[in-house]
Symmetry: none
Subunit: 235 residues, 4 copies
């Protein structure tokens, strides 16, 4: 009993070690920039040992990238869920993007590599695949639909088209950041860039009755701005 348990723990630890080292190599040298031999060496393992935890390089990469993607999307979904209007959900997701980058830079970057690794599942596609893409697309679409219904978003909005645009832009930013070499990234305020971009998006979809500067302000860290009066009046 204890033996089995310990073995599982060891196995998980091994798996985690491999993932950790590989994550680092992906971030450092890119998906094609390292060999399994490198991973094995870094862990003082033989190459064959890696195959006990993963069926091959493919699965290893997928595991890492999908993990990162899932982590990211779950974070965003949680943010959106705790909102009280469609606009609020959009704003929260936007801030989430920003905050997630600052806290989990690596996962954010890895998330951006998904398309490179699995271009057959581009996140911009509104197609229903049995994978993560639809999660993000569905997430954004849900916020827009909700916002149009509750009046917090521009009533003339085309939810379907705008979903595509937002997803496209959001994932573009992620992709972009994922390809900036670490050392250069360190010298940039990437978080601020991302925040700005989402500020723009919010302004584009909000109910026009809401003063734009309030939207901008709501993106400032720790801000607590109540926008409801503006659009509730309109209803």
């Amino acid at each position: 009993m204890g033996v089995q348990e310990r073995r599982d723990r060891e196995k998980n630890r091994r798996r985690d070690d491999i993932i950790r080292v590989t994550r680092g190599m992906i971030l450092e040298r890119g998906v094609d920039g390292f060999a399994l031999q490198d991973v094995a060496n870094a862990l003082d393992l033989s190459k064959g040992t890696l195959y006990l935890s993963f069926s091959g390089k493919d699965e290893l990469l997928r595991a890492i990238l999908i993990d990162a993607g899932t982590e990211f999307l779950e974070y965003l979904a949680a943010r959106a869920a705790s909102s009280d209007s469609g606009l609020d959900a959009i704003l929260r997701m936007g801030r989430g993007y920003f905050e997630f980058y600052n806290n989990q830079e690596d996962a954010f970057v890895l998330f951006g590599l998904m398309d490179h690794f699995a271009p057959e599942f581009p996140f911009v596609l509104p197609v229903t695949e049995d994978g993560l893409p639809s999660v993000f697309v569905g997430l954004v679409r849900g916020c827009l639909d909700r916002g149009v219904a509750d009046g917090s978003l521009d009533p003339t909005l085309d939810p379907e088209g705008m979903t595509l645009n937002i997803v496209f832009m959001a994932t573009s930013l992620v992709d972009k950041v994922s390809k900036i070499p670490r050392n250069i990234r360190a010298g940039m305020d990437v978080g601020a860039v991302i925040g700005h971009a989402f500020g723009l998006l919010a302004r584009a979809v909000a109910n026009p009755a809401i003063p734009r500067n309030l939207i901008d302000r709501s993106f400032e860290p720790g801000a607590r701005v109540d926008l409801t009066p503006y659009w509730r009046n309109e209803q």
Copy 2:
């Protein structure tokens, strides 16, 4: 002399052939999806001959991607040059993005691969490298400075920070598009998505006195909207 000249012409033609074929292969199969042998075969050349025009695969790829980048940036620079205000320059560049994609999709896509291939020259960096990046950065910066000076842009704008943001977002979109597989791209109105994104950017930087819907309208194909009255009044 005539002999020398002809030799040079031949050499250039050879070089162009190689570039042309390789471009196609990059677009079709990706940067890592083809071998030099494929290029040689397609041109009925021997593999070794390629090394007479390029010092290796690396240089070949660089040449192609930088060509594409140059072509793209020159197009944008020409658009910006023929403007009569900073805002107009921004709008022209935005429309240029849109139009260039529709007319020169390939170059647009290849431009987007630059970062993937040469991440040491990311376009987002405002640093002055001896390469293209500074061209784009300088281009955008010039428009913003001009617009702030002539009143067509938001006077409260921080030109340096906003340059970074715009370049970042613009190149993000390009990168993103460059990674969508051709067949999927064909089913999307990518041009429209790009157009939307730049519409948002323009709204963000324009002088607030200008009605937003006029800015939007100015992005419609073939539009001729005169925005000058609004900001000239303000001055």
Copy 3:
């Protein structure tokens, strides 16, 4: 003692399980088509456990193939033993071949793989090795000697040379059948082909005074033909 006994029984059962599963895999995928891991998985054992019963893959395969060979040869030996003349013994062994194939196709096929796996003990060799070969060779040789002595076989026969020929041809057929993929084998009347071949052999070695058609007839299933009058007369 009881404990020891039970342990032995368990050990034998384990060994038999391994052999059974491996047999199936050999027949299904060929000698090189499976890994020890597959065997272990099929039995819910660990790979290492297999080494408690067998010193390695080699010994395991040997055991299986030799088992199959032994089973086959014992069957033939029993058939030959219950005969009342050399010719009868040959005929019985021939029919035995045929019948064994129909009843124990798998063992027959595995028997044929012996040479492939252990070509150093080819069954055709009349040499006395410390293995099975000599059993078959001795079996056939015994029948021929007996038949020459009792007059049922062609008196001009060279027992030594003919033994070689018969063993060679008989094992050739077995080998051949063992390499026909199962699905194709299912569509052929392999038993009939084998029966024909042995009919030919019997005709070749019988006392010429015996009408050939009677020999043929004696190969028909369930036939009871008394050939003794013909050669007894001759004596």
Copy 4:
């Protein structure tokens, strides 16, 4: 001109070298008993160089085995073609088997490996594949049909069934021989064994009016026996 020619010659020589060495290794150690590295080493080449002549191990093996098979079948076809009756054709092919073995032992042996290597084309199948199998099957079938028509073969013969039997037996012998290790083979009169087997086959299919001993005699090396009177009388 001369350059191209010489290059081709060199290339062919290289290819032939590889084939020669590989043939030896197949005969010595079996199809699975050697690695491309061994071949490369034996020729003082790098492993990669082999890929200039063959697309992989598969193609190399196929080339060798199919070459051997073609050579063998063409030899037999030529023998059969120069016959003056169905029986004669059978006898000639039989002697051809025998002679080919003595003269071209290696090709004979390699021919026998075809099934092992490409079991999807077993020679025993009368199916019409676009490959060698049908050649041999068709060859034998043609002889039988001819012999039944001209009276030299047993008129009660079932050509279709007998074709299968003969092909089966003939290829069985080839297979068998191909698996005997070279050193052991050297101590056996394999040619004689093969000759005997075909003698039996001939006796089985010949017109019964022909004395069997004459058939036997016709298999002796250099024999010139006219069997026509016997079956011509019957007609």
